[in-house]
């Protein structure tokens, strides 16, 4: 048993904690989320580089609402999302404990939002080199090429909404796509409706996306849709100096304003 498994076992045996949300070994070398309620199952828990899923999405689910105090094993994406969810009052201080990991693999216990925020401040915020290269590749294309690229990608979308389901920030009980009076997004998955859906999803994540890329990882068609939310996240940083997932009391970039906001396109 490794440190994490021992820790989990102790926590569950202490009786103070009722549920551990973490990762277990999945199929084809991938990790998958696991929900552990019994101490003897603690040995299922793993934490390595395969655990890249953002599991903050489970924190506010109805299914675990009535469990006794929760523990979540968090990678850096999950930590940032927890901070952003805290800023939006979707999770509550003291409802759960976070087990994060230091560089050397030591377990760090984070009990309050203040502690989480402090830990997150030590993490790297921004795109990885590979992600930045993908963004640059598209931004360097001509307008026509960009349109052709995205038209091709959007034409493949089957509107399964896995991107929405996987995103911790997509928590609205009724999403705009489910509203049919008026029908904002057409139901069949043709390119036009798919384009509108992806534009809408990105816009609704403006200033809120923590650039975890979970939407792209969840996409069964492997569309690079995470780039759309990266775009709005990078713009929010550039225009409004707003980086999601850094502060538990920050306002959303599009919910506030400054009279001196500068643009160059309004005549």
């Amino acid at each position: 048993m490794n440190n994490l498994q021992q820790k989990a076992q102790q926590l569950l045996e202490s009786g103070n904690y009722g549920l551990i949300v973490g990762y277990e070994k999945g199929t084809s070398g991938k990790a998958r989320p696991v929900f552990i309620r019994k101490a003897e199952h603690a040995s299922k828990l793993i934490f390595d580089e395969s655990c890249d899923q953002n599991i903050a999405v489970y924190l506010y689910r109805q299914e675990i609402k009535h469990d006794k105090k929760k523990v979540i094993v968090a990678n850096h994406h999950t930590l940032k999302s927890i901070v952003e969810l805290a800023a939006e009052n979707q999770v509550f201080d003291g409802d759960f404990m976070v087990l994060a990991f230091a560089e050397n693999g030591d377990i760090i216990e984070l009990n309050t939002f203040k502690e989480i925020e402090k830990h997150v401040a030590t993490l790297y915020h921004g795109l990885t080199e590979a992600e930045a290269a993908m963004m640059k590749k598209i931004e360097d294309m001509s307008l026509e090429d960009r349109w052709a690229f995205w038209e091709n990608e959007f034409s493949k979308c089957i509107k399964c909404y896995a991107c929405r389901a996987s995103c911790p920030m997509c928590y609205c009980p009724t999403c705009t796509v489910e509203i049919n009076q008026p029908q904002w997004i057409s139901v069949p998955s043709h390119t036009l409706g798919n384009l509108e859906w992806h534009v809408m999803r990105a816009m609704h994540l403006a200033g809120r996306c923590v650039t975890c890329g979970q939407c792209g990882k969840a996409c069964p068609l492997e569309l690079p849709i995470q780039l759309l939310t990266y775009k709005v996240a990078l713009d929010s940083k550039q225009f409004f100096d707003s980086v999601a997932g850094t502060s538990i009391c920050a306002d959303n970039a599009l919910a506030i304003y400054k009279p001196e906001d500068h643009e160059n396109f309004i005549r």
Binding site: S186, L195, L227, F239, Y257, P259, D261
Partner: protein
């Protein structure tokens, strides 16, 4: 209106304007008997802050070749801050559209106050000229055509 070439393409333009400034400004254009392009269909909103980006997407999806969005100058908003919020939204939205390869020149943003009847005529005329030069929104029309076909099927 004056057109040099009667065969030239006439863009369909939708203008989303705020009730308190630009709509009143457009009224002034009319009462001042200033002529401007007839391509534009004005839709009145309580505030620019109310103009959701999805409404613009829907205008394009219904065949608009160009869109004009106009409201009160900063600090003049009837509701104090609607136009400031709108401005932030447009800054993000415009760049996102550019990122997916839509021509952002098809959307013109302006501030037109209730006293600027002449500016409204100028904004519309210049925008319509700009849209005329860009030609029909063929890339988007292709999507519209495909979507209709699939829905019938």
């Amino acid at each position: 209106m004056e057109t040099n070439n009667t065969n030239s393409f006439e863009p369909k333009v939708v203008a989303f304007v705020c009730n308190w400034c630009t709509y009143a400004g457009a009224d002034l254009t009319g009462t001042s008997r200033i002529k401007y392009a007839t391509n534009v269909k004005i839709i009145r909103f309580p505030c620019t802050g109310r103009i959701d980006f999805m409404l613009l997407m829907k205008a394009f999806a219904n065949g608009a070749d160009g869109i004009i969005i106009s409201g009160c100058h900063p600090n003049d908003c009837h509701y104090t801050s609607g136009n400031f919020h709108a401005r932030r939204r447009w800054m993000i939205f415009r760049n996102l559209l550019d990122f997916i390869g839509m021509d952002v020149n098809r959307i013109v943003f302006s501030w037109v106050s209730a006293a600027e009847g002449a500016k409204w005529a100028e904004v519309v005329n210049e925008s319509v000229d700009q849209f005329r030069q860009l030609g029909p929104a063929t890339a988007y029309q292709k999507l519209i055509k495909n979507s209709e076909f699939q829905e019938v099927e």
